[in-house]
């Protein structure tokens, strides 16, 4: 791939300095553009982290007033904020666990079996990901309203499982497609039955995919505002707390928690990448 771009200037060396200069500018213009785009992506994040150390004068944490560590030291001093965070984590744990199991089963069926209704199944997985969140949230609310089901913690969990299933299926499926079925056949040849083959061969091999899907589902659940907003009743999650506080001034502790979520999520993603690379290395070494 890189040979294509590197070989060209050599091949065209005779075409004069002007062409080469133009090629140089263009080559670096693209890089400069990409770096600027990345800077743009990180600008708001830098603001979030920076303002977690701000010492705001009033209730609004919009302008820089001075450096302080107080917000980090008193991270749990805002009434309601810590409770909201705990509620969010509980919902995320429950909903991501359920969605991961349900989604993994669907992914297994889609990748390993030929069956009637595959197209319809794929469609049912795909459509929720392309439906505006507000329509999903609103339609769920009409379901609960028509059956007089009070909205609250449980309805949030139900909603989060619903929108997470599709993401789990897609993530696990990507991992399963590259899976070598011969390993399972070998185990069966060595007189392992279906269940022990699944537990000892299949599951360990697809575990990183399942883990990645679970983490994604957890992150999406903690982050969700729109669907939760429609189905929360009196329950307050972290994003709902921020929404409520936005009108009267968001305390800097919200930035502290935002920063922590960010660092934990990136840490988990990096750990997953490193873990998978190590495993791949160990596997190839074992094979050789």
């Amino acid at each position: 791939m890189s040979t294509a771009t590197e070989a060209l200037p050599v091949r065209r060396a005779g075409q004069g300095t002007l062409t080469r200069l133009w090629a140089w500018v263009r080559h670096h213009a693209l890089t400069a553009y990409a770096v600027l785009a990345l800077a743009y992506l990180f600008l708001p994040i830098a603001i979030v982290v920076l303002y977690s150390f701000n010492d705001p004068l009033g209730r609004f944490n919009y302008t820089w007033e001075g450096f302080t560590l107080d917000n980090w030291r008193n991270w749990n001093h805002v009434p309601g904020l810590t409770d909201a965070m705990v509620t969010s984590l509980k919902i995320a744990a429950l909903s991501s666990a359920f969605a991961t199991v349900l989604g993994t089963l669907i992914a297994l069926a889609l990748v390993r079996y030929n069956f009637r209704g595959r197209g319809a199944t794929n469609l049912l997985i795909f459509v929720p990901m392309t439906t505006p969140e507000i329509v999903m949230g609103a339609s769920l609310l009409t379901l609960f309203l028509n059956f007089s089901i009070a909205t609250g913690f449980l309805t949030i969990v139900i909603a989060h499982i619903m929108f997470n299933i599709s993401y789990v299926v897609v993530t696990v499926k990507a991992r399963l497609v590259g899976f070598d079925r011969h390993l399972e056949e070998a185990a069966m040849d060595l007189f392992a039955n279906q269940w022990s083959t699944f537990y000892r061969v299949t599951l360990p091999l697809i575990a990183p995919g399942i883990l990645a899907a679970g983490l994604l589902a957890f992150a999406l659940s903690v982050d969700d505002f729109v669907i939760t907003n429609f189905n929360s009743g009196a329950t307050i999650t972290f994003p709902l707390f921020v929404w409520g506080a936005a009108r009267i001034g968001v305390p800097p502790q919200v930035n502290v928690m935002g920063t922590v979520i960010f660092v934990v999520a990136i840490g988990a993603m990096l750990a997953n990448v490193v873990f998978q690379q190590r495993r791949a290395k160990a596997l190839t070494r074992g094979a050789a």
Partner: protein, 285 residues
């Protein structure tokens, strides 16, 4: 033997059943109830009853025409800007990323692990009246002395663009990364200029990514209400704001449901027309 075959035939359905049942009950059935609610009539005190009240549709469309059009306008603009920002970035990662590709991709999605609302609030301080962006633009006379960024449509579109950017970058990257660079080389060997090779080879081959990216950005953008609420004023409100307040503040469920249905229908029609115009039906189907 036959028993084993039966079991094999049944196995996929057993695996599918719980997950699909969940989606059926909590995704498909609610769509039915959304339609059912949209044809109800009554009031919150007396209760809403089903009446085939089609007037909910005609009334809501004529009353909230502006918000509908604004949603399409803002979402369209945001999608366009997101494309302009994302395509070179995705191209750069796919063709110049080398062994750093995965890390760069991680960098692209990393910002989106900061909660959606907090990200949007960060734009509130970036675009604030005394913020550095506003001051810079005033200095360059691109903004009048008492001009504002916050509470204008500029701020709302900027927020939407930023918030849905990964939905544009990722599909573009996937389609660009899959391109066989041999094809681009071949075009250049046949004396196509770099620009021509790009326009005739790379760009058409990345069309599925463009298609997926624009849709995945446009759809959530058109239904958004968070950016208009936090970065705009009621003059920037989109149809999402109307639906949200009708459902959760005013509790006029039938009209809110009708608006949701119209939004979804408009998006579906738009997607179909777009697919036809771009001629990518066979690519995605």
């Amino acid at each position: 033997m036959e028993l084993a075959q039966d079991r094999r035939r049944l196995a996929p359905y057993l695996l599918l059943a719980p997950g699909l049942a969940w989606l059926a009950v909590f995704f498909l059935v609610p769509m039915f109830y959304l339609g059912y609610t949209s044809l109800q009539e009554g009031s919150l005190e007396l209760g809403y009853t089903f009446q085939w009240a089609w007037s909910n549709y005609t009334d809501s469309i004529s009353t909230y025409r502006d918000q509908f059009l604004r949603s399409l306008e803002y979402a369209g603009l945001a999608t366009l800007i997101a494309f302009v920002v994302s395509y070179p970035l995705a191209y750069w990662i796919a063709f110049r990323g080398g062994r750093w590709k995965n890390l760069l991709l991680l960098l692209v999605i990393a910002p989106f692990f900061v909660t959606y609302l907090i990200r949007t609030l960060a734009w509130e301080s970036i675009l604030a009246d005394e913020g550095f962006v506003a001051n810079l633009l005033r200095h360059l006379h691109l903004l009048s002395a008492n001009g504002r960024l916050l509470a204008t449509s500029v701020a709302v579109v900027a927020g939407i663009t930023y918030n849905f950017l990964p939905f544009m970058v990722l599909p573009l990257y996937v389609s660009l990364e899959q391109i066989d660079t041999g094809l681009i080389e071949a075009a250049q060997d046949l004396y196509a200029s770099k620009l021509r090779a790009f326009l005739r080879v790379t760009l058409p081959l990345s069309l599925p990514g463009i298609f997926a990216g624009t849709l995945l950005t446009f759809i959530p953008a058109a239904g958004d209400f968070v950016n208009a609420q936090l970065l705009g004023t009621p003059r920037q409100y989109m149809i999402g704001n109307v639906i949200q307040s009708k459902f959760l503040v005013i509790t006029d469920y039938p009209v809110a449901a009708a608006l949701s249905f119209v939004l979804m229908a408009a998006i579906l029609v738009g997607v179909a027309a777009y697919a036809r115009a771009l001629g990518t039906e066979k690519l995605t189907g």
